[in-house]
């Protein structure tokens, strides 16, 4: 895959620390993601990948460090501020609004880009009605975009596993992100579904959204990512294009538990 990154930095973190009691879940983590790339994050279970996602999306407050996005300081900002700035995510353990329809789930994603207040909701002035119609239309087209339009009226929990993953992506895209962070989106998918997902991610990137991706499927990552960073015990131990990372002795050690020589 050609490196599409044009060198413009979108997200930059440095010196990020996150501790849970005695556990140092993230230790001096730094990375910078360029606009337009698919940036992979790998590492053994418990390495701190999800924790880093939680820090990047404001769900966890980091203890120290720097965090800027498009030059805006997002260090210890609330999730809604982060989303408003243009970062959206999915969850490793799917977190949909189970008892809302697929369409409503995506409509919730538009919340942050819409303005109607109580008065608008109650009086339904033309502006609010237009906004609501826009939300509906956009949600429909996003369901279409991820390929689950026909399930729009079903409760999210009744969707198949793969479709739930897609719905989470559609819901995240509804917030108009510039950076989409996907936490193990292919987990539990069969090869066919994984392949479709790969195509979807490429489509999303080609439509101008930068992707930060956690995945275990090495083959998928090698074929998809422009750059990959490796976390182990909360530390970044390697970073580079897939070929480099694959052959990095420290990475091999982290994965196999063997000494490099």
């Amino acid at each position: 895959m050609a490196n599409q990154a044009n060198g413009e930095v979108l997200l930059e973190i440095s010196g990020i620390h996150k501790r849970f009691g005695g556990l140092h879940a993230l230790s001096d983590v730094a990375l910078s993601i360029n606009k337009g790339e698919i940036y992979g994050l790998i590492g053994p279970n418990g390495a701190g990948k999800t924790t880093l996602f939680n820090v990047l999306t404001g769900l966890y407050q980091p203890d120290e460090g720097k965090f800027t996005f498009k030059g805006i300081d997002l260090f210890r900002k609330k999730p809604n501020v982060v989303v408003e700035s243009g970062i959206a995510r999915t969850f490793q353990n799917i977190r949909l609004f189970h008892n809302m329809t697929a369409l409503e789930n995506v409509m919730v994603g538009r919340h942050v880009r819409t303005r109607a207040n109580v008065l608008g909701a109650v009086f339904r002035d033309p502006k609010t009605r237009a906004e609501e119609a826009g939300i509906h239309e956009r949600a429909q087209s996003l369901l279409d975009y991820v390929g689950i339009r026909k399930h729009g009226g079903e409760f999210a929990k009744n969707l198949s596993y793969g479709d739930q993953r897609r719905l989470e992506i559609a819901r995240a895209l509804a917030t108009d992100p510039q950076l989409l962070a996907l936490d193990e989106p292919a987990a539990g998918m069969n090869p066919k579904e994984t392949d479709d997902l790969k195509k979807l991610m490429e489509k999303i990137r080609n439509d101008g959204v930068t992707i930060l991706l956690i995945e275990h499927d090495v083959k998928l990552m090698m074929g998809l990512c422009d750059r990959i960073a490796v976390l182990d015990y909360g530390k970044k131990i390697a970073e580079g294009v897939p070929e480099e990372v694959k052959n990095n002795p420290r990475v091999i050690e982290a994965y196999l538990g063997a000494s490099p020589d």
Binding site: L59, P79, F97, N99, V108, A116, A121, T175, G188
Partner: protein
């Protein structure tokens, strides 16, 4: 009702028209068949419908368990009572604040709603991080605190008149007509209870419309999203703090409106009307009827309000006839039936008597989720 206008239009309009006629003649039919107490009961039922719809916003939509809801009813009631009775006259006379007294209804009602809404935010802000049992305990405490204030704010300055309550509250006066006086239109005599009925009906309809519109707006979706999964709602960029406070404020303001109407209707308020049991009854109306579903909540309010009234009318005459003496106090029977009904509903229909499709699905999600989990396991393995 209003929620399902979507069917074929002529049929829907015909249904609405019939329904409107039924509502319009209801107090007269009730008065003629069951007597005047029942028209009064009808009025009170309307107040409970408004209350239950307000609590439904907090508990049903946003999923925040509130056990102190009656406090907002109390705030509304005291706002109306103090501004429309002789009680504060000595205190305010000569201070330049006399204009506060006897304001028109269209000013007092929004004021009651606003003040109750502010109390809603006051209750909401310290509880934002709490859920479930913890939230229930704190809100319960809040409800009691408000009641205790009403009970004790007769010293050092007599604001609430303490346990004696506020008396001689003026009835509503609308378009220059005092609701305490009967009015005859087209040869039909509308008495005070009738006038209040139409006023309460109008307010209840207003609250229903507002509820429906909020529910199907971006705000309503945000409430439900928080109820479903607060973390995911945050990750979608919802400012959960503001949206929750809004739920508290909206619910409280409905409570405030019904409280104000209660005060004018009764002509008297005292802290005794706002005990914990009242909060629990309103909560039971919401839960029993069907949380988050407006028709269900209305049904719950009607059922729970009317049961004791029916018992009062039925049990004593029945006992007199059958056994010649009164062994069972209808008031006690009411609590017994109440408890049995709740247990029954929790066991058999935890989603309530008339739930929304959504809620029904939620309460039977175990069945689906087990299958889903099995699928997930298989997929992982």
């Amino acid at each position: 009702m209003l929620a399902n206008i979507k069917q074929s239009k002529p049929a829907a309009y015909a249904g609405m028209a019939i329904f409107a006629v039924v509502l319009a003649v209801l107090p007269f039919v009730m008065g003629a068949t069951l007597g005047n107490t029942w028209v009064r009961n009808l009025d009170l039922a309307m107040l409970y419908i408004m209350l239950a719809l307000g609590l439904n916003i907090v508990v049903g939509y946003a999923g925040l368990l509130d056990l102190g809801y009656i406090a907002f009813y109390a705030v509304g009631a005291y706002v109306y009572a103090l501004l429309n009775s002789p009680h504060l006259v000595p205190m305010l006379s000569g201070t330049g604040f006399e204009w506060l007294l006897h304001m028109p209804l269209l000013v007092v009602l929004p004021l009651a709603a606003l003040l109750a809404g502010i109390f809603g935010v006051l209750l909401g802000s310290p509880t934002l991080k709490l859920r479930g049992d913890y939230l229930a305990i704190v809100t319960l405490g809040f409800g009691e605190i408000v009641r205790l204030f009403m009970n004790n704010l007769d010293r050092p300055i007599n604001i609430t008149n303490g346990p004696q309550g506020v008396n001689l509250i003026e009835p509503v006066s609308l378009f220059g007509h005092k609701f305490s006086q009967a009015i005859t239109v087209f040869g039909i005599e509308f008495r005070s209870v009738h006038l209040y009925y139409y006023l309460f009906l109008a307010l209840a309809l207003l609250i229903i419309v507002v509820s429906i519109r909020l529910q199907s707006s971006r705000i309503g979706r945000a409430w439900v999203a928080i109820r479903e999964d607060e973390i995911a709602a945050q990750a979608m960029g919802i400012n959960t703090r503001n949206v929750k406070l809004l739920a508290f404020a909206m619910g409280a303001s409905f409570g405030g409106v019904s409280g104000a109407m209660f005060a004018s209707f009764q002509g008297f308020v005292s802290p005794e009307s706002f005990i914990l049991m009242e909060s629990i009854v309103v909560l039971a109306m919401v839960v029993l009827g069907g949380m988050g579903h407006i028709p269900g909540v209305i049904l719950g309010a009607i059922l729970l309000f009317l049961t004791p009234e029916v018992l009062r009318d039925v049990v004593n005459p029945l006992q007199d006839k059958l056994i010649g003496e009164r062994l069972v106090n209808p008031e006690n029977l009411r609590m017994l039936l109440f408890g049995i009904a709740l247990i029954f509903v929790m066991l058999v229909r935890p989603e309530g008597l008339w739930p929304s499709k959504q809620r029904k699905a939620e309460f039977h999600e175990d069945d689906d989720l087990k299958v889903k989990d099995a699928e997930k396991e298989a997929a992982h393995g």
